[in-house]
């Protein structure tokens, strides 16, 4: 049986727009080609993975209504060894559920799932030695104990060879700036400090995969930058495969060449970040300053979205060139100054989500 061609049809069937399916097909065929000559290509492999939750709702005294929620609804993708992939989607899209299945915390309701050749749900403890997990919202450290105690315990629990442990700890302490924090109980650390402590804890045993569930949530700008730099270096130097979910698209822009968008349990997009613009039919904005206040400009191929005194905002398709539009405006109106704004990736994704709801 040829399961790779199955996965191709799976992912295309779920796609909503033609462009999405084109791109998905391109990528899937790339992956199919890779699998044939390179075992590292399916380091993380999901085939039609589903997770269905039974939710019981109280409808009266002792009366419950049961209904099913499909948190993850047939997701297929491959991550190659050493890749760094962003996994994004709105709240409740199924991101965390996917991560939980990849770590073995949750058992999938259907489909096939392999991480480094291991079925996570069946061999959770064996897999645990080979993966690192950072939950942004909760710590894996021992809350009431000094940071260093957690690390010592990890050292023994993961059976890390003494030299490796010392080297890894040194590197993490240095790069994540943990030196002054080692003797502080975890509960006294600030969010940013704790997050850095958590990342170090997840890396002491040289995991082959690192999952990060919202690693920069609630961090200030400086802490975010520190975490991002560290992750980028980790990926390039140690070749650790990184899968990260986030709400902060700057994380993705700075770290990941590949991004997967999930919504309502479906994979909506899988490809380079830049490709999102085409899929989302995003628009660029031309901001023009006129000599005086005028009624909204009338030009073809653009529409006025905002007027504020002599300044007006015109939206036009991101794929189109700005030059003819600028020429058209300059020919007909008294133009003083202008600037072009690139589409906001967040707006693009928000639009994708909205399309999904209405379609």
């Amino acid at each position: 049986m040829d399961s790779t061609s199955d996965s191709t049809s799976d992912s295309t069937r779920d796609s909503t727009s033609d462009i999405t399916s084109d791109i998905t097909r391109d990528i899937t065929s790339d992956i199919t080609r890779d699998i044939k000559d390179d075992p590292d290509a399916d380091f993380i492999a999901l085939d039609g993975v589903e997770k269905v939750f039974d939710v019981r709702k109280k409808t009266g005294f002792l009366r419950r209504e049961r209904h099913q929620v499909r948190a993850v609804d047939g997701i297929t993708f491959r991550v190659r060894r050493g890749e760094m992939v962003g996994y994004i989607g709105p709240n409740g899209a199924g991101k965390s559920t996917t991560i939980k299945m990849l770590t073995g915390i949750l058992t999938p309701s259907g489909g096939q799932l392999r991480v480094a050749g291991i079925d996570p749900a069946r061999e959770r403890t064996r897999l645990a030695r080979r993966i690192g997990v950072v939950f942004g919202q909760r710590t894996t450290l021992w809350w009431d104990l000094p940071l260093i105690d957690s690390y010592r315990l990890m050292h023994r629990m993961y059976r890390i060879p003494d030299r490796r442990y010392a080297e890894n700890l040194d590197r993490c302490v240095q790069l994540l700036d943990l030196g002054a924090l080692l003797d502080v109980p975890v509960r006294q650390l600030s969010l940013g400090q704790r997050m850095r402590g958590d990342i170090a804890a997840a890396l002491l045993h040289d995991p082959e995969v690192l999952y990060l569930d919202e690693p920069t949530i609630g961090l200030d700008v400086v802490s975010k930058a520190k975490v991002r730099t560290f992750l980028r270096d980790l990926n390039t130097e140690s070749g650790t495969t990184v899968l990260l979910t986030t709400h902060d698209l700057t994380d993705i822009e700075q770290l990941c060449r590949r991004v997967m968008v999930i919504d309502h349990g479906h994979l909506m997009y899988d490809g380079p970040l830049a490709g999102l613009h085409e899929v989302g039919e995003s628009e660029r904005t031309l901001v023009v300053d006129l000599e005086r206040e005028l009624p909204p400009l009338e030009v073809e191929s653009a529409r006025v979205v905002k007027v504020e005194g002599p300044r007006q905002w015109l939206a036009f398709p991101a794929a189109a060139s700005a030059a003819p539009l600028v020429a058209a405006v300059a020919a007909r109106y008294p133009l003083v100054d202008l600037s072009v704004r690139e589409p906001d990736i967040e707006a693009v994704i928000a639009k994708m989500y909205a399309d999904r709801v209405t379609s």
């Binding site: 749900a121 403890t125 645990a128 000094p146």
Partner: protein, 296 residues
Amino acid sequence: MAEPTLRDGAARDAPSGLRDGTAEGPLARALDGLRAYRMISAMWIRSTMAYRASFAMTALGNFAATALDFVAILLMFSQVDALGGYRLAEVAFLYGAASTAFGLADLAIGSMDRLGRRVRDGTLDTLLVRPAPVLAQVAADQFALRRLGRVTQGLLILGYALFALDLAWTPLKVLLIPLMLVSGAGIFVAVFIAGAAFQFLAQDASEVQNAFTYGGNTLLQYPPTVFAKDLVRGATFLVPIAFVNWLPGLYVLGRPYPLALPTWAAFTPPLVAVACCALAGLAWRAGLRSYRSTGS
């Protein structure tokens, strides 16, 4: 097409699997669990011992609180000569045995009643991504050496009872006492684990668990004759805590058991403890499995 690729992956992973020294089989898993339990509890003891004065005070407090418990019984005996037909030394014997057995179980895995909270706030997830059995991690979490206070109190009262009792000692009776304490602790451990397993389903049920652990302990501190037959039956056959101290204890005291049971039932506590722990282990596995498929 994908089949050979997967096999390639598995073959490549095999050596690293061996390198991990990954545990296979139930015995290896149990040893792995004990190892994790020892490491985590040792860490908590070290951290407790960093503040010796504070430890001494909490342990003393724990001892005093449980000691006051026995004062209530002493007060009762200042008014009456016998309770359910039992003299003070005999009640003290039952009390000390129950308290010691319960204290040992509470010391070992008393933190398990916090499982419901871990399930509710999702921190159980962080235990599931570590390479150690979850049961061992939950049991050793917040290991509190101060609970030695209750064990000390139990042993002191038991010691007093053995001194005050005027019994015809036989080798069998002498042997039965340590056996009773260890098996009793095992039965309470099973009750703790089963209660924790129940919390996977009902996350607010730590009080239900307390009813069986602390409640069961209180029940056993009195002779069975003061309770209704049905309650004694429940404690014997339903939740078999009667095997902690009543059955072996009454044999030592030379008293008849209120229910019609053969004399050799007094020597079954080790078997009951093993059976209870096995059942509790199964319940725990079922609970954990339901958590991993509902993710509640």
